[in-house]
Structures are given as C-alpha cells and as structure tokens.
Amino acid sequence: MPCKHYKEALIEAAASGAAPSGELRLHFGECASCREAFAQEQFLFSAIDSDRHAAANAEVPASLVPRVRARLEETIAPRLGWMQPLVLASACVALAFAVFLMARPHHAAPEEVAKQGPVMVPAPTAPKTNANPEKISPSGSQIGALRVNHFQVASSNREVLVPPDEREGLAHLVATLNERRDFAVALRAQRPEKKDGLVTVDPLQISDIEIKPLEGTETETSDGAGETH
C-alpha cells in the first residue's frame, strides 16, 4: 500500500505521464511501497492507453468504401430514373408542339381569325371516341366549337392543346366569347403581331406523352395502331 499522503500525487503523475515532481521523486527514493504503487499505476494507464490506441486505429476493411459507393449508387439511381423519362417526355411534347405550330394554317388574316373565333380542340380522352364528335359549346351562334374528337380533323380551324383538367374552364371561356363577340374581337386585336418565323418553342414537360393529331399526318393511338387521315 502506498503512503496515504502520496497516493493522489502518484496517481496524478502516472495519469499525466509526466515525470514525478521533486518531492515525490525524493519519497520514491526512500519508500519501496510508493515506488511499486507508482509503477503499477503507470502500467494501468499504459494498458488503458494501449487498448484505446488499438481500438481507435483498427485496420479499415477494404470493402468499406466500395460498399458505401454501391449504396450511394442505389440511392441516387432511382432519383435519376424518373428524371430521364421526364426529360424525354418534355422533348417529345416540345417536338409535337413545334410540328403543330408549323402545320397549322397561316392564310387567315388576324381580323378574319377574330371573326371566325377560336376553335378549340382539347386533348383526347380516349382514342376510341373518334366516331362521335362531342360538342361542348352551348350557343347556336357559336364563335367556336369545342371538339373532343381530335382524330376527325378536316378543317382549317386553329387548334389548342388543352389538358383535361382545363377543358371545363375553356368551355366556359368559349361560351363567354360566344355571348360577347365584341370582347372576342378586342381580345384578338390586342395580341401583338408575331411573324411565324420567329415563333420559339421552349422545351415542355407533361406527365403523359400525347402526340397531337395533325391534318394529313399519321398518328399513333395509345395502343400502337397507326391511323391515317
């Protein structure tokens, strides 16, 4: 057993790893018990430190980084996965839109168009509805007719792509325009004149790809069957 007076001092000295102070060193010279206790403490701290060192510097398995990389790939791949069809869909829709703009009739003057009024053709609800065109516009003196069946296209009417959820609003607008012809004319007259050659088309994105039918062009129904007009 070490001397009670020096016990704390020798533990502190062993813990700090520093050489014992002058007084302690002098005591060690004359007390074998404290000398032995100090050596035991040094050994204990050395065992603790050795353990910590071994644990903290264990060899890293070579598989760690590759496994993390693989799991990162798994995490990232699905995220990119939905982006690719999205971009593709945008490109397809933009292309279809560009073709539509180029193929639509250009001979009507703006005034005539205003008189004629907008004829709206919404996106198809289903390809099989082409037998019965459905008139949505309510008025008999219609400015325009809202035709659901887009496959039956045989006029020079202008066409607008209308998402299904906006058809009701469009029908309402058409009805309003039918009632207020003057408003429709004013609306058309305010549009800045644009040369067709300068029409620019931004890439677009919608969730479903729908190739819009065009006059005299071949389209594909969703079941893959081609149809010529």
Binding site: I11, A14, A15, S16, A39, Q40, E41, F43, L44, F45, S46, A47, I48, D49, S50, D51, R52, H53, A54, A55, A56, N57, A58, V60, P61, S63, L64, V65, R67, V68, R69, R71, L72, T75, I76, R79, L80, M83, L86, V87, S90, V93, F97, V160, L161, V162, P163, E166, D202, P203, L204, Q205, I206
Partner: protein
C-alpha cells in the same frame, strides 16, 4: 393561352435539372471525402463496438446519412465533426440495442510494450481485463468517451479534435485526463489480471 397553359412545367424541368447538377457536384465532392472520412467513421464505430462487422455497418450508415446532409455540411471541419458524432451515436445505439454481434474481435488490449500472452492463463487474464475495460468505458459519460477515443486516433491532434467537435482546447484536454483517471479508478481493483512480466 397556349404558353399560359403549358409553360409552367418548363421551369419545373429547368429547376429540377439545376438541382440534379448540384446533386452531381455534391456527389463528386462527397466521393473525394470518402477516402478520408470513411476510416474516421469506421474507427469511431469500431472503438465503441469492438467488432469489425458491426463497425462497418455503422460506418456505412453514418456515411450515407452524411451524404444526405452534405449540402449543409460541406465545410470540412463541420463535416468531420458531424460524421464523428453520428458514427458515435449510431455505434452507441447499436451497442445498447442488443443487436450487436456476440463475437468480439480478437484480443487487442494487450499493452504495446508487453510481450504477447504466452499461456492460456495469460489470455484469460487479458480477456478479463478487456471485459472490465469495456464495462468501464460504457460507464463513462458520452462526452468523455468520445474525446477519449478521438484522442487515441492517429493523425488528429488535440487542437484538431477541439475544432472537430466544437469544444475549447482546454476542455478537450481536461476531458481526456479525467476520463483516463475514471477508467483507472474502475480498473485498479482488476489490475492484478494484467500482471506485469
């Protein structure tokens, strides 16, 4: 009207592409850090769990979480500190969840300056000491334990550890000193299991 109806998704695609580009940048930068920070995460976990397979699982999980939070953790010191803490936390959770693998890795608590144990008795004695040491470590306050294991890690100075975990240098030093003393107090009565040769 045409543009009005259809122009909104364009900005969505653009911003999504910008975000994807930023993610790709972050991924590249993160991969560069993996070489440095993978071992750090692993060693923290290994120090707590004392089992290679468990430590690897924990390090992986910590690194994946670090990747998810990488945007706001790009500063190297913050990133390391965060990674160390999350590895430490996950390792402690695993240790206490009971899901830890029973098999512990081979004996490695033998003091470096001592010759390896020669007899079966020596091995048993050393294993006993290691068990006592593990229990003593588990009884340490977490903040002491974290600093203690980081200070044993090669390649990190006390100053770096202080910066890493955002604690003053003096606090780090005193925590190391106190933690070692606490361990010694608990192990003193078992010191006879590691007889000096």
């Amino acid at each position: 009207m045409q543009e009005l109806v259809l122009s909104q998704p364009v900005s969505t695609v653009r911003s999504e592409l910008v975000r994807e580009a930023a993610r790709a940048d972050a991924q590249r930068e993160f991969e560069e850090r993996l070489a440095e920070c993978g071992p750090l995460a692993y060693r923290v976990a290994r120090s707590v769990l004392r089992n290679t397979a468990d430590a690897e699982d924990v390090a992986q999980e910590a690194l994946l979480r670090a990747y998810k939070g990488f945007e706001r953790l790009r500063d190297r010191t913050h990133f390391r500190g965060w990674l160390v803490r999350i590895s430490f936390r996950l390792a402690l959770d695993k240790l206490r969840s009971g899901k830890r693998r029973e098999q512990r890795d081979t004996l490695w608590s033998q003091p470096a300056h001592l010759p390896p144990p020669l007899t079966a008795e020596d091995v048993v004695a050393s294993n006993q000491f290691q068990n006592h040491l593990e229990r003593a470590l588990d009884g340490l306050p977490e903040k002491f334990r974290l600093v203690l294991l980081l200070s044993a890690m090669e390649g990190y100075t006390v100053e770096e550890i202080a910066a890493m975990i955002g604690v003053p240098l003096g606090t780090v030093k005193s925590r190391i000193f106190l933690a070692r003393k606490k361990l010694a107090e608990k192990l003193r009565c078992h010191a006879n299991t590691i007889k000096r040769r």
